[in-house]
């Protein structure tokens, strides 16, 4: 569904993506893990067209997505840090985005209800806590029933209850056969969701495997341990 071919990206001297080739299919839930600054967010942003690669090609459903924009109606993106115009209220923000995506008539407001955001519709964005902003970002990402969900550290800053709601939602969407890509440092959380793991380091994809396969190779039952074990066996990969 999403395919990277030899993608490279530099930011000045920093080589943010090195020859990244990748193939993601519908129905997969991919955990993107790696140390801080390894290029996870850059990878996400290049799918969204926020970052234009220096070389290589990224395609969405077989056609290139560079310099096109319509494909984005099928992607829901939850940024790592959502910052919104401080004077808008939650209600106005959601209304604005629904207007931008006029083609969708019935919006998926499940998260909106579960997070009880309606009661805060009048609150301006600047008065919200980090966690509430994350809830708003999540609601917006899931609102239009996208076929691809890109979640950048979705549970960072959410309280346990809220992150549980989000995980349930992710599972539900996964069951509908969507492609979900999550980056997170909380490997235990990803354990119950992910079907595949991509490990990135310094802009390079170190490995991309099925979780079951990964656990078999390393002989570990926990994803967190398996990821680390795999790294230690780097020569083996």
């Amino acid at each position: 569904m999403i395919r990277f071919e030899q993608v490279n990206k530099h930011f000045g001297k920093l080589h943010a993506l090195r020859n990244v080739s990748l193939n993601c299919e519908a129905g997969q839930c991919i955990a993107l893990v790696g140390p801080n600054g390894c290029g996870k967010t850059t990878l996400f942003k290049s799918i969204l067209g926020l970052v234009v690669p220096d070389s290589g090609d990224i395609s969405f459903d077989g056609s290139t997505l560079i310099r096109s924009h319509l494909y984005r109606s099928r992607i829901g993106y939850m940024p790592q840090i959502g910052r919104y115009p401080s004077n808008l209220s939650i209600g106005q923000l959601i209304y604005l985005i629904r207007q931008l995506r006029e083609e969708e008539t019935q919006a998926d407001l499940e998260l909106l209800e579960e997070y009880h955001l309606e009661s805060m519709f009048e609150k301006p964005m600047r008065s919200l806590s980090g966690g509430t902003i994350q809830k708003v970002s999540a609601t917006i990402a899931f609102m239009f029933n996208p076929s691809v969900l890109i979640l950048d550290e979705p549970t960072a800053g959410l309280d346990p209850l809220a992150s549980e709601i989000l995980k349930e939602k992710i599972k539900k969407e996964l069951a509908k056969g969507k492609l979900i890509i999550i980056s997170s440092h909380l490997l235990n959380e990803l354990d119950e969701l992910a079907t595949q793991v991509i490990y990135m380091q310094e802009g390079e994809i170190k490995y991309h495997r099925d979780i079951t396969e990964l656990k078999e190779i390393t002989g570990e039952t926990m994803l967190s341990k398996a990821v680390v074990r795999m790294l230690k066996q780097a020569s083996y990969v």
């Binding site: 926020l50 924009h69 319509l70 984005r72 919104y84 115009p85 004077n87 808008l88």
Partner: protein
């Protein structure tokens, strides 16, 4: 987007300030022509400054929201154009309410309309320049610095340079060239245009007469307006081209 800008306190203060200054300069001076002159000097300094600073800061603060908008199925040019329209419309509205209404009450003549139109055009030019400034650096403080430098250059330094050239080359007939040079500065264009529509233009002497010949004619007026439109268009186009390639 517009609702967000209109709620901005800075703009409210700007409107009130312009309003206060405009009313004061008309009510305190005994004839409205003198009031116009006072107002002209105020407008020629504050309008570009507020336009360029407000737009620069607004665009930088908009950055994260830009990310959200661009992850929606929207073209980059649509987003940039929308942002420009939002910022410039609200600045125009502030100018109209603040300075435009007193102008229409006290100076319902060509000079009044001229000042209104030129004030709006100058706002647009400086919004464009601000958009261009934001594309040169990701750093907000540097961007604001560039914006202030642009204002400083056009509002003060440019005239100083012209004076310098004038003194150095005073033995040569450079009035014609001088007129052409003033096309390089949108603020000067607006200032000359308004001055020539006030009664005081009679006191400007030989050079003034020459300016009057050119800028007072309908071709001169037309050329001035076209020049100001080009001043809006080109910086905005360059910024748009850069924005399309920008990494967020």
């Amino acid at each position: 987007m517009l609702a967000d800008i209109l709620k901005n306190r800075v703009l409210l203060v700007y409107t009130l300030l312009l309003g206060a200054l405009a009313w004061a300069s008309f009510l305190l001076e005994d004839n409205s022509s003198k009031g116009m002159l006072t107002l002209l000097n105020i407008i020629i300094l504050t309008v570009p400054l507020v336009s360029v600073l407000f737009s620069t800061i607004y665009v930088y603060n908009f950055n994260e929201f830009l990310e959200l908008l661009l992850s929606q199925p929207l073209k980059r040019s649509t987003v940039w154009l929308g942002l420009y329209a939002g910022v410039s419309l609200s600045l125009m509205l502030s100018f109209f309410i603040g300075a435009g209404i007193p102008l229409l009450i006290f100076q319902l003549n060509t000079a009044g309309f001229m000042m209104l139109a030129l004030g709006i055009l100058v706002s647009l030019v400086f919004v464009s320049l601000a958009f261009l400034a934001t594309m040169f650096t990701r750093d907000k403080s540097k961007g604001v610095g560039i914006a202030v430098m642009l204002w400083l250059f056009y509002a003060l330094l440019f005239d100083g340079l012209i004076l310098f050239i004038l003194f150095q080359l005073s033995d040569y007939p450079i009035e014609g060239a001088l007129m052409m040079i003033s096309f390089l500065n949108p603020i000067d264009l607006a200032r000359i245009m308004i001055l020539l529509h006030l009664d005081v233009s009679a006191m400007l002497g030989y050079t003034g007469a020459l300016f009057f010949d050119f800028f007072g004619s309908s071709t001169g007026i037309l050329l001035t307006f076209i020049a100001l439109c080009i001043w809006c268009w080109i910086p905005f186009q360059i910024s748009l081209r850069k924005f399309k390639k920008e990494n967020l």
